[in-house]
């Protein structure tokens, strides 16, 4: 079995929408079954009277987590192909706090509001309008806070990677934490909500019998314990190539990144991609694009980066990078790009831009700003200077300008956002 099926090309985009619809039905069904169409039931979580939110959420998390671990460890799922939202620590903390405040005021979260609206709750429908208004407001101010939104970037990182601990050990820790939280939650419900634990449906209350709920908890704990000793779930060296897919991407030029776009990303301090300099170490030390890492072609092993990371390759021109691109695609990397025209093009279009007749004054002014950011300078538009290639600027990344120029890249975004 080669999963995730979609990433291995078992079906296309159109089929994925049908699957999305059915997965959504399952999602909505269980949310409603849990009682999450009711704001009162959800809000009771925050007055410690009914801890269903905690129980449902953590049961779902540890079920999916242990299941995914088992499938990956048995080699059925390539975990590195499962999309991971990049971590931007401070924005995610601030966003989380805001979401929490909004949760207890509004009574829903985005997913549960859909279920509540679908079952006739007027407050759920109003909530959705409020959310739309919030998104619209956010969209309008986004250009001004883009710097904050991309701050404290840590890339795609999991807890095992952060703490340098075995993946399975953290699976076990998460299961134990969840079971502990369930016990504490049931205790709180009894104390603050005056709820007598239902003997069939609780973990701590009632008889000592092994009820189905306890059997579920016990099974998850046992899988977690095994995981703690069972090793890394990430798949080793394995390669499949969807040749048709590659043809399409190359044919559409979807494998290329324009230097101007890359420059924008670097200025924005985005960390959701890795820039790889494929030249020799000597060339790399002499000069490289800021933030680039040096991996000569031979060192591109399948585990040099996570397979779902966005990787941008460059050399002096395009040809060596194209080889590396193919190699990585064959190794199962799924979003690899080549810097169009390599370092030469970087010099011409980012470091030492020339004003072409078609460029407006403001657009060129911005090109100049970008060039200065990278330590370059615009070139006079004469034939004589075109012949002499200016020397490369020094290696050090120039310090950030007070207001980095952002958001004026003219190239359309190539890939739609995948996350929630």
């Amino acid at each position: 079995m080669n999963a995730p099926f979609y990433k291995f090309g078992l079906f296309g985009d159109e089929a994925s929408f049908i699957i999305a619809f059915f997965i959504g039905i399952g999602f909505g069904f269980f949310l409603e079954r849990a009682g999450f169409g009711s704001a009162r039931k959800l809000a009771a979580q925050f007055y410690l009277r009914d801890l269903s939110v905690l129980k449902v959420m953590f049961t779902a998390i540890i079920t999916a987590m242990t299941g995914l671990y088992v499938f990956s460890r048995l080699g059925m799922v390539d975990l590195s192909l499962v999309y991971l939202v990049p971590t931007f620590l401070i924005p995610q903390i601030v966003g989380g706090l805001l979401l929490g405040v909004g949760f207890v005021i509004g009574g829903y979260c985005p997913g549960t509001s859909c279920v509540s609206a679908a079952t006739g709750r007027i407050d759920g429908m109003v909530y959705i309008f409020g959310m739309i208004a919030g998104l619209l407001g956010f969209g309008e101010v986004y250009p001004r806070i883009v710097g904050f939104a991309h701050s404290t970037s840590m890339g795609q990182i999991t807890l095992p990677k952060l703490f340098d601990l075995p993946y399975g050990l953290l699976v076990f820790a998460a299961v134990l934490m969840a079971l502990g939280a369930f016990a504490a939650g049931e205790w709180a419900e009894k104390k603050f909500g005056g709820k007598q634990p239902d003997p069939e449906g609780s973990i701590i209350g009632g008889s000592r019998r092994l009820t189905p709920v306890r059997a579920l908890a016990l099974s998850l704990a046992v899988i977690g314990l095994c995981a703690a000793f069972a090793g890394d779930p990430y798949r080793g060296h394995h390669a499949t190539i969807a040749t048709r897919d590659l043809e399409m991407r190359v044919g559409q030029g979807a494998d290329l990144i324009e230097p101007v776009q890359l420059a924008d990303w670097i200025i924005q301090d985005r960390n959701d991609f890795r820039l790889v300099d494929l030249r020799s170490q000597k060339d790399y030390i002499a000069w490289h694009i800021p933030t680039a890492e040096n991996f000569p072609l031979a060192s591109l092993t399948p585990d040099f980066a996570a397979h779902n990371e966005k990787i941008i390759l460059y050399t002096n021109d395009g040809s060596e990078a194209a080889k590396a691109w193919f190699l990585l695609e064959a190794q199962g990397f799924r979003s690899t790009y080549v810097l169009d025209g390599g370092l030469r093009n970087w010099q011409d279009s980012v470091l030492f831009p020339r004003k072409s007749p078609g460029t407006s004054g403001t657009a060129f002014e911005r090109q100049v700003q970008v060039a200065k950011f990278f330590g370059g300078a615009p070139q006079a538009n004469t034939e004589a200077s075109a012949a002499a290639t200016p020397a490369l600027p020094r290696l050090a990344l120039p310090s950030l300008p007070a207001a980095p120029p952002t958001g004026t890249s003219t190239a359309p975004p190539r890939k739609k956002k995948e996350g929630c």
Partner: protein, 176 residues
């Protein structure tokens, strides 16, 4: 809807509902290589609407443009949009089967309907903003990222609980 003669059935036990939800999430990982989401679909809808009204404005805005795709097809042909349509249908089906469809406003005994609806609107607005700053909501971040042991998702999740508990006292009249 109100003429439903049956009494609503009780909700499922939380652990079994959570287990079912976990299996759906696991299926999504295995079939699609991605988790669940909710707020992203609404963002796509908002971006598409803005694009309809003011195309240049939407294309020049880095937030909207990220949700508009490459222009080769409608941005609404998006995985999360179909998934969220499914959430509405799934919620409706479950509600029908358990006799829980009811046109009503969910609020505590001391709350009034106008205030409750105003709070729902404000809360929804805050969630919309928060979800975009955090790159996901309770579905896309807490649930999905939680199961993947994602660093940002776990930080996010504790902050959601933290923010909600900190605020709970001030809006208690709405609920209890």
């Amino acid at each position: 809807m109100n003429s439903e003669p049956h009494t609503p059935r009780p909700y499922w036990n939380s652990y079994w509902a959570g287990f079912g939800l976990g299996l759906v999430l696991l299926a999504s990982f295995v079939i699609m290589g991605r988790g669940l989401g909710a707020s992203g679909a609404f963002t796509t809808a908002v971006a598409t609407a803005v694009h309809q009204v003011a195309p240049a404005h939407a294309e020049n805005n880095p937030f909207y443009s990220e949700y508009l795709g490459d222009g080769t097809r409608s941005p609404l042909k998006d995985w999360l949009v179909f998934e969220v349509l499914g959430v509405f249908v799934g919620g409706f089906l479950s509600g029908v089967l358990a006799h829980r469809l009811k046109l009503t406003v969910e609020q505590g005994p001391r709350s009034t309907t106008p205030r409750r609806l105003a709070f729902a609107f404000v809360g929804g607005g805050l969630m919309g903003i928060g979800a975009k700053i955090a790159l996901g909501c309770t579905s896309g971040q807490a649930l999905t990222g939680g199961a993947l042991l994602n660093v940002g998702s776990w930080a996010f999740m504790w902050c959601v609980f933290g923010g909600a508990y900190a605020m709970a006292y001030f809006v208690r009249k709405q609920w209890i």
